[in-house]
């Protein structure tokens, strides 16, 4: 944990905005630049920033590792699940037209969940890699 008060204060101010910006990038990707990948990376960067300033243990308390590992798989399952939902509703794999009575609404729904899946997996993978790298150095120091 850093003792630098400037970093700690700036971090506390900026991290919530980074997370909100990630949500904006995720859910406004239909209209503006961005989408699941960018949003997932920004979420991961915000938590990594938190981990650098307040220590790895604090980051692990805020976003526990079992959660990160579940997110990593959950996103892909969500994406693939949207495809299976298309089959169950009588279409082809990853066919969004059948997801709603109105084909255009079905497209919007499919894109929404698929992008959510991308964001979840990307943020999970980035965070997990950070935890592994940072944790490895720490463990070696102690051992």
């Amino acid at each position: 944990m850093t003792r630098d008060i400037v970093l700690r204060v700036i971090g506390k101010i900026l991290i919530p905005y980074a997370l909100v910006f990630a949500l904006y990038v995720q859910f406004h990707g239909d209209y503006g630049p961005g989408g699941g990948f960018q949003a997932g990376v920004v979420v991961a960067a915000a938590v990594i920033f938190y981990g650098i300033i307040f220590g790895l243990a604090a980051a692990r308390r805020a976003v526990p590792e079992p959660l990160v590992e579940s997110l990593l798989a959950l996103g892909v399952l969500l994406y693939a699940g949207v495809g299976v939902a298309g089959i169950l509703l009588g279409g082809n794999y990853l066919d969004y037209f059948v997801l709603d009575h109105d084909p255009v609404h079905g497209q919007l729904r499919g894109i929404f969940w698929v992008e959510a899946g991308v964001g979840i997996t990307v943020s999970g993978v980035m965070l997990k890699i950070f935890y592994l790298f940072a944790g490895r150095g720490r463990d070696l120091e102690e051992g």
Binding site: D30, A45, V104, L108, I111, V114, G117, I129, L132
Partner: protein, 182 residues
């Protein structure tokens, strides 16, 4: 016109950063200059109106990978060992490969040429029909998530596989009662 000048200035700064990375022996400085390089790249991409890629480059290239490289430096120490052989052969290979790549760009269509093949194949259909068919005004999102949904599923699977691979390599198994060994 201003954009061309800005991109040229950014590319010149990136070239300077690349030379600095090569000449620098302190790896901590190399990682920091690498982050600066990524930020310059992100700015150049933003100037080229590629906002999505610029965002990704700023977050991944300058942010996350800089942190990961610093984490790696923490493990291996931050002074580069002096190379045992001379720089002549690697420099020659890099120059030849670089010139080949530059030569290859002469076969590409001019930048943002509307007559380029890539803009005349399926792109017009996406631009015209995309908003009507998907209801999504941002064509990039429509193409990525809907028209090219299978490709994106593959990409996400690649990211997932990379994450699982890193977990498999770096996770330390803790034996009951014993010290964890890498």
């Amino acid at each position: 016109m201003i954009e061309t000048g800005a991109v040229a200035a950014l590319l010149a700064l990136m070239a300077a950063a690349a030379v600095a990375v090569v000449r620098q022996r302190n790896l901590f400085a190399v990682v920091v200059i690498g982050g600066i390089y990524s930020f310059l790249m992100a700015t150049a991409l933003a100037a080229l109106d590629a906002a999505d890629v610029a965002m990704t480059e700023a977050a991944v290239g300058a942010g996350v990978s800089t942190v990961l490289l610093l984490g790696a430096l923490h493990l291996v120490g931050s002074l580069e060992v002096k190379p045992s052989s001379g720089a002549a052969l690697p420099l020659a290979i890099v120059l030849v490969a670089g010139l080949l790549v530059v030569y290859g760009t002469y076969g590409l269509p001019a930048f943002s040429d509307p007559q380029a093949p890539i803009h005349r194949h399926v792109a017009p259909r996406y631009l015209v029909e995309g908003p009507k068919e998907t209801g999504v005004p941002n064509v990039v999102t429509a193409v990525l998530a809907s028209y090219r949904g299978f490709d994106t599923l593959g990409e996400v699977t690649v990211v997932f596989t990379a994450g699982v691979g890193v977990i498999a390599l770096l996770r330390r198994r803790r034996r009951p009662g014993g010290e964890g060994r890498p």
